[in-house]
């Protein structure tokens, strides 16, 4: 980033409008998909438990299916826009691409001891790992979802995942990983509440750490 051409006090947005918009649309769609998905799961559980009714939406199986297959389009649209933007603008390469295991370990230790500094617009190693990981998981969830929605018309997808029954288990497993991500994500937001504000307003990129004065 060229520091010379910046007006004083007007750092660029930490989160561009397209990232914020797709983030919130995906978040709403994902909540609808997970809660309706739990009711769909309850109709024919694959594990010896069901999800509590209050945590589901749709009211009954038919309603949950309608929620699931309506929210699907919002998630797919926002996800597609975000992926095109992420690859096209260099956002993934610049901000999300995971860095080495040493940096990840260092930042995990720092995060666990609550010493991980948050600088707006800069993604630390833990964030990079979580965000790149959950993006892969969401893409897998969508593809396994398509494969169990259309196991005949998109038969090659079900075949890749080992058939309808296996794809359904993978789809469920990906949901578990997404829920785990959401728990960690919300916990980190709770620790640094300003990140919530900047994901709404856009925030401003923090100055890079000046090595000479910092040391």
């Amino acid at each position: 980033m060229n520091q010379m051409h910046r007006k004083p006090g007007r750092a660029p947005r930490a989160h561009p409008a397209i990232v914020r918009l797709t983030h919130w649309i995906s978040a709403a769609a994902m909540v609808c998909m997970i809660m309706s998905g739990w009711r769909i799961y309850n109709a024919s559980p694959i594990l010896p438990f069901t999800f509590p009714e209050w945590a589901t939406i749709g009211g009954w199986l038919g309603g949950a299916l309608n929620w699931h297959f309506a929210a699907m389009w919002a998630l797919a649209a926002a996800g597609a826009i975000y992926l095109v933007y992420g690859f096209g603008s260099g956002h993934f390469r610049r901000d999300i691409r995971p860095v080495g295991p040493r940096a990840i370990l260092r930042d995990i230790v720092a995060a666990l001891t609550l010493r991980l500094a948050h600088r707006e617009g800069h993604y630390n190693a833990v964030q990079r790992l979580l965000y790149s990981g959950v993006l892969v998981v969401i893409v897998l969830t969508v593809i396994t979802g398509l494969s169990i929605w259309k196991p005949v018309q998109l038969g090659f997808l079900s075949w890749i995942f080992g058939g309808y029954a296996v794809a359904r288990v993978i789809h469920f497993t990906m949901m578990v990983l997404i829920v785990c991500f959401i728990v960690v994500h919300l916990a980190l937001v709770a620790l640094v509440p300003s990140t919530l504000r900047s994901m709404i307003t856009g925030g401003r990129v923090a100055e890079p750490i000046d090595r000479e004065t910092a040391s």
Partner: protein, 252 residues
């Protein structure tokens, strides 16, 4: 320093903060109330705006599924060893309420856009070419099972009776009061058969004796059992589950 200085802040000092907190709590509870009222009881029966939106999306999904559908895409077939035993019974009632008819006097009634509407007997259906398929049945509830059906390819039968193949829908009425309907494209799919046998014997009562439509390209709710009448029409005849809010196309 005065050791007796009052440390407790006065009400006036904290009032702006209290007002802020109060506002925040109000806003939060309003938001969660709104969210709750939006999310509960949306069961497609209330006729509210959310349900209307979901119905519109469901009809949109019908169109997408019809566009994705191709007669060239065949469902996977399986070796006899993969057959699910026992193949599950499923209906809108329990197994004790299965209804039966006398196979010898049973007749398939035909109506709508069909040239020859004479009823068919089982013996006549057995004279037509037969096809056997071991395919996966997928229930709308998510479970699936592999079964072994044989019978008359539906396209062969539809051509034989002079059905208008440009009509949009095929409707089914069953003698257990179930009913459903499918699109013509699915009716003509090479794996859509009028199943007369399960395994090596005639369909047992639990699987829809004497006639069931078997389509691996549709979810279980679209595979009618105990068929009594078939109609060819341009008006969507709906279905037992579909009319209650399940997606009409329900393809796979």
């Amino acid at each position: 320093m005065n050791p007796f200085r009052r440390v407790r802040p006065t009400y006036d000092e904290v009032r702006p903060d209290l007002v802020k907190i109060e506002r925040r709590l109000m806003l939060r509870s309003a938001l969660s109330l709104g969210a709750l009222s939006m999310l509960t009881g949306c069961n497609l029966e209330d006729g509210d705006s959310v349900d209307e939106a979901l119905k519109i999306m469901s009809r949109f999904n019908d169109k997408v599924q019809a566009a994705l559908f191709s007669n060239d895409h065949l469902a996977a077939t399986f070796p006899p060893g993969a057959i699910t035993k026992p193949f599950p019974f499923n209906a809108y009632y329990g197994m004790a309420d299965i209804r039966t008819v006398d196979a010898a006097s049973w007749r398939l009634e035909l109506s709508g856009q069909i040239a020859d509407r004479r009823p068919w007997s089982l013996a006549q259906l057995r004279e037509l070419p037969q096809q056997r398929q071991i395919t996966r049945h997928i229930c709308i509830e998510g479970w699936s099972a592999i079964g072994d059906w044989s019978g008359v390819p539906f396209s062969v039968f539809l051509k034989r009776i002079g059905a208008d193949l440009r009509a949009r829908y095929v409707g089914f009425k069953c003698f257990d009061d179930y009913f459903t309907s499918i699109d013509m494209a699915t009716a003509l799919h090479p794996q859509t058969i009028m199943a007369l046998d399960y395994g090596d014997s005639p369909l047992p009562p639990a699987y829809g004796a004497p006639l069931k439509l078997r389509m691996p390209t549709k979810l279980g709710i679209k595979n009618p059992k105990y068929i009594a009448a078939i109609t060819i029409t341009n008006h969507n005849p709906g279905g037992y589950w579909e009319n209650q809010g399940y997606n009409w196309f329900s393809g796979s």
